[in-house]
């Protein structure tokens, strides 16, 4: 395990930000840490990375206790924060140079690391330009380069794609995939995009500082998501008949959604009432519905 958290607690005055939280992250996996704003994600990340001390519990990163061997832990993790923390007035090169120095990377070692990161992130055209002259996507690339400058074993990404256009988001993900494939990097991700969480190896959902669900996306969808049969014909009849059978029915403009527990139930329903199912589709439950079901909140709206 690259991260082991046992009974972690953290309060700010009377607010319990993290409440008896326990989970593990396996080496090499893409781990998604989900929760609405204020759920305790950033607090947990700040504790893992040694910015914030904890009230209680145990946090082990790369086999080292974060309290006892903070420097050893810090040397092995890289973080991309929600908002860029690069010096906007300096060039990307100067930013990376001063950052590398903090890890004892100087001179030739720094230059060769920049070449490696250029090959990975395509920094060549932007490295000599001041940060405030770069686009949001280019700045994100430098953010990631900054987090990777010391070749960490664990990369923490705190909402790395929030506010980016779809193309840049895709580019960021291409880099993350490449890193995972070629270097076996462990990625600890918080995101508001459920489609990003859906490709994770393991997911933990946090609500009000407490873990409310965990598992692989498939396990979570199986346990919490509701499949839907969407009918586009015989709407009045379908709404009345299926509601009388006790199914959750929701009439929308041009279609009726019927909540079902798994595709097997859908098959049984279609077989039993073939006249209703002239035009329909079966929609698998997704991570959005898992999140909504588990927390009672829509991650995009809170």
């Amino acid at each position: 395990m690259i991260i082991e958290i046992e009974n972690l607690n953290k309060s700010f005055k009377n607010v319990k930000a993290v409440n008896n939280l326990s989970f593990c992250v396996k080496e090499g996996e893409l781990f998604a840490f989900l929760g609405v704003n204020g759920a305790g994600k950033s607090t947990t990340i700040n504790i893992i990375s040694g910015i914030l001390p904890k009230d209680g519990g145990k946090v082990t990163v790369c086999g080292e206790d974060v309290d006892k061997h903070a420097d050893a832990v810090k040397s092995r993790l890289g973080i991309v924060f929600q908002s860029s923390v690069l010096d906007k007035r300096l060039t990307a090169y100067d930013n990376l140079k001063s950052r590398a120095a903090l890890y004892g990377i100087f001179g030739g070692a720094f230059r060769s690391r920049i070449e490696e990161l250029d090959a990975l992130l395509g920094l060549k055209d932007i490295v000599k330009r001041p940060l405030d002259k770069l686009s949001g996507g280019q700045r994100r690339r430098v953010d990631i380069a900054r987090a990777l400058i010391h070749s960490p074993d664990l990369l923490i990404l705190d909402e790395p794609t929030t506010g980016l256009d779809p193309q840049t988001r895709a580019a960021v993900w291409r880099v993350i995939d490449e890193l995972r494939k070629t270097r076996g990097l462990t990625v600890f991700l918080t995101t508001h995009y459920m489609e990003e969480a859906a490709i994770a190896d393991y997911v933990v959902i946090l609500d009000a500082g407490k873990k409310v669900a965990e598992g692989t996306p498939h396990e979570l969808k199986t346990a919490y998501a509701t499949d839907i049969v969407r009918l586009y014909s015989h709407l009045d009849e379908a709404e009345k008949q299926l509601a009388s059978l006790g199914y959750g029915v929701c009439r929308e403009r041009g279609y009726v959604d019927v909540e079902i527990k798994g595709t097997r139930v859908a098959t049984q329903l279609i077989a039993a009432y073939p006249d209703l199912f002239d035009d329909y589709e079966v929609l698998k439950g997704n991570m959005d519905s898992v999140f909504l079901r588990v927390t009672g909140k829509d991650i995009r709206e809170v």
């Binding site: 924060f81 923390v85 903090l102």
Partner: protein, 309 residues
């Protein structure tokens, strides 16, 4: 060794952030220049009249070049001692901005010691303030060379030492005050307050002899007064010696020094020059101790989870 390299890398980074912020650099540099221009434009004649008033009391008439230079040196000594503090307060904006932008938190995710981080801000601020003050000094010396130069080489060297002392004092004072600041608004408030008050309470804008005796005694307790005192001594003494050589009697020289803070009195006791250095450097030592204590306590508090995230 590596920690030292980290310290130097962080110091360079802080200095680069400062110099790349053209507005910040411009404001820091232009403030002393404006003060110098304002002094020369509006106050020079007032001081020249005052000097001539003293000379006439002793039946002495000084040549114009000498009086102009004396007025310029008095004004420049004021600018140098005041701006060493105000520029240091302004230049430390990089530290405050890092707190606001969350850069400090980011730096803390790297294996760098909290003390190294704090020290890098201090050293960067010291070097930046020193560079700005040396630039002001060069401009001031060019002005004095133009209007009347009577500063011996030894005094020039001592003025450089005084500049170092004043910058050290200003940087430490800024470090202590700004350790508690984490917003741009608070920084602006402190800068405004210090810029408007400091020159008066250290006796730089007006000679101490013109204050009421009670106020003068209070001002003499403040260490900033002695940063002005050492500057005054080394800027003015060459001019006073020349006046003596040209025939201004000793009493006249003393009257000039007494009236324009070349001599500083606490009660009726004249403070020797060495005691001014002792007070100023002693204050620097106290400020350093306070700054180190603050850094240690803040790091400790962070470690003990007593700070708000």
């Amino acid at each position: 060794m590596t920690e030292f390299k980290k310290l130097w890398a962080l110091t360079l980074r802080n200095m680069k952030c400062y110099f790349k912020d053209k507005f910040l650099f411009f404001v820091s540099l232009i403030t002393p220049m404006i003060l110098l221009v304002l002094f020369v434009t509006f106050l020079r004649t007032v001081y020249i009249d005052s000097f001539n008033g003293i000379f006439s009391m002793f039946g002495f008439e000084a040549e114009e070049k000498l009086v102009n230079g004396l007025a310029g040196s008095w004004l420049l000594s004021s600018v140098m001692s005041v701006c060493a503090v105000t520029v240091a307060i302004c230049s430390n904006a990089v530290m405050i901005q890092d707190k606001i932008d969350g850069v400090v938190n980011d730096l803390r995710t790297s294996p760098v010691k909290g003390t190294t981080l704090s020290l890098s801000y201090f050293i960067a601020n010291f070097l930046v303030t020193l560079l700005v003050m040396l630039s002001v000094l060069v401009v001031g010396f060019v002005y004095l060379a133009a209007v009347g130069w009577y500063i011996p080489a030894a005094n020039v060297a001592m003025i450089l030492v005084d500049t170092l002392c004043c910058v050290l004092f200003g940087t430490l004072l800024a470090g202590v005050i700004e350790s508690f600041i984490s917003t741009q608004g608070a920084l602006s408030a402190v800068s405004t307050l210090v810029s408007s008050l400091y020159g008066f309470i250290c006796g730089a804008y007006m000679p101490l002899s013109q204050f009421a005796s009670g106020v003068r005694n209070v001002i003499c307790v403040l260490p900033g007064t002695y940063s002005v005192g050492i500057m005054r001594n080394h800027f003015m003494s060459g001019y006073v010696e020349e006046l003596g050589r040209l025939g201004l009697p000793y009493e006249g020289q003393q009257a000039l020094l007494d009236g324009f803070d070349g001599n500083i009195y606490v009660g009726k006791t004249q403070m020797p020059l060495w005691s001014m250095y002792v007070i100023l450097l002693g204050t620097c030592a106290l400020l350093l101790a306070a700054y180190v204590s603050i850094v240690i306590v803040q790091n400790d508090r962070r470690a003990k989870n007593k700070i708000k995230s």
